[in-house]
Amino acid sequence: MIDLSVNIGNLKLKNPILTASGTFGYGEEFSPYVDLNLLGGIVTKTLTLNPRVGNPFPRIVETSSGMLNSIGLANVGVGKFISDKLPFLARLDTKIIVNIAGFTVDEYVEVVTRLEDAEGIHAYEINVSCPNVKEGGLEFGSDPTITAEITEKIKKITDRIVIVKLTPNITKIEPIALAAEKAGADAISLINTYVGMAVDPYSRKPKLARIKGGLSGPAIKPLALAKLFDAAKVVTIPLIGIGGIMNACDVAEFMITGATAVEIGTANFVDPSVCQTIINDLTNYCIEMKIDRIQDIINQLEIE
């Protein structure tokens, strides 16, 4: 028997396959396509304090091997999540990781406070790629100090696992990763989307109503892997790799480079049952490689 389990702090996952926030709805949407109980865990769409309808349309653009999105954190809000979405998730036999964000540091704390009363949540993923309203819209996550502040304040009010999800739109990921680790993060997930844009050469208009959006999908995989590599060199807490993962080989690439688990994003759009396929193929990969435990490939990059 191949052992696919991995540990994020004291959170034991059946396997390293998590779903990426914003690409798997609140889980329910995928129940026709995936046996949700087979997943390592489900990371839900970013929750904010209040419900948000999101940005105007068009919000999505297809690009070469990728896509841009500017959904604008459309979500049901923390209250409705607890009443309408969480009960379904809580009944599943998988780990539930709730991704949260705020537009001020206090809002981050407030969202977690509200969720603390609810049952069935195993971990929080802190989305620091939100525009910081106070700082003119620059992402919180581009500043190590603010990243640390948010992490610390959340760690103070919860015993649940806290994962900080980093933005890639920065010169060096190391200081931010270190700041999150020092502030007590149990794990770091990386990366969120890369800022990009697209233009229609005929109408001369941006293809997204909000002009810029976030690039995801296989196009960014090499970039995500390099960020992971950099982070893995400086921190000791578990890393969760994200960015362009389409299949089990990609998962292995990320784990070898230093990820304990991974999140699957855009791939769910291309094939809603992809997570299940990947879990199967990961077992096959282990068999082919003569590995008993997938854990054994974590951080095993061979460098001369």
Partner: protein, 275 residues
Amino acid sequence: MTPDQTRNRVSYSHSSEIISSHRLSPDIHRIRFDNPILANNTLPGQFINIKVSTTNTPLWRRPFSLHNVSKEEGWVEILFRVVGIGTKMLSQYRQGQCLDILGPLGNHFIISHIYMHSGIMVAGGLGIAPFLFLSKLLLKDKIKPILFYGVKTASEFCCLDEFADLGVSTFLSTEDGSLGYKGFITDLVRDQIDQVADKQHTTMYACGPNRMMNTLGKIALAHHIKCQVSLETLMACGVGACLGCGVKANSEKLSYRYVCKEGPVFTISEIDLSD
């Protein structure tokens, strides 16, 4: 069945063999897929999402209405126009090749046996696609199908034979006057609506450009005719996850409806097509 109930139906993804692929005009193609499960579990207005390439470009699947379905023979057909890379690739597949199809997706046109004597279908261009399938179901339910079908120029008409064989009453328009009424199909509808149907016992089904459907909505409203429209938007996922396929809801406070999941068929009053 209400659209709500269909939302919980199982939708499948699997490899389907192409039984035939035909070019109907320089840029319009029809493909028939072998897929008995799908054929047995779909209703007109629903769509399928096809992975047209085996690589990451194009990345997204491409959505197509179910155009024609045979439960008995276990196949489904799509009718499509080549407009870009995805439809180009699709047009080049040949009999015997297999494609990964996801579906049925979305809700469907609602047919009410209780009050309907006729169903008025209004198609603009490739909006004709779902109406062959719908016509067959209307006929099965002994409801008279009436088709208004407008295109730019006569060579763009598709499937006129099929509709004629079924005995669908058909009203045609072309923008250049090369066949049928000269002008927009909406003008023809406005002209003819009083003659063709008993307004209390009919439903209007529309599929085409948003502007056409917006105008039709007004006509339907003015005549107190029920009207269902089938919408198209960009779609990354087709399953309600990406939140990319919204249209404005017709409500006081800004809100959106998602076409892949809450549609593609909407009652005209649910949505705001004004821009």
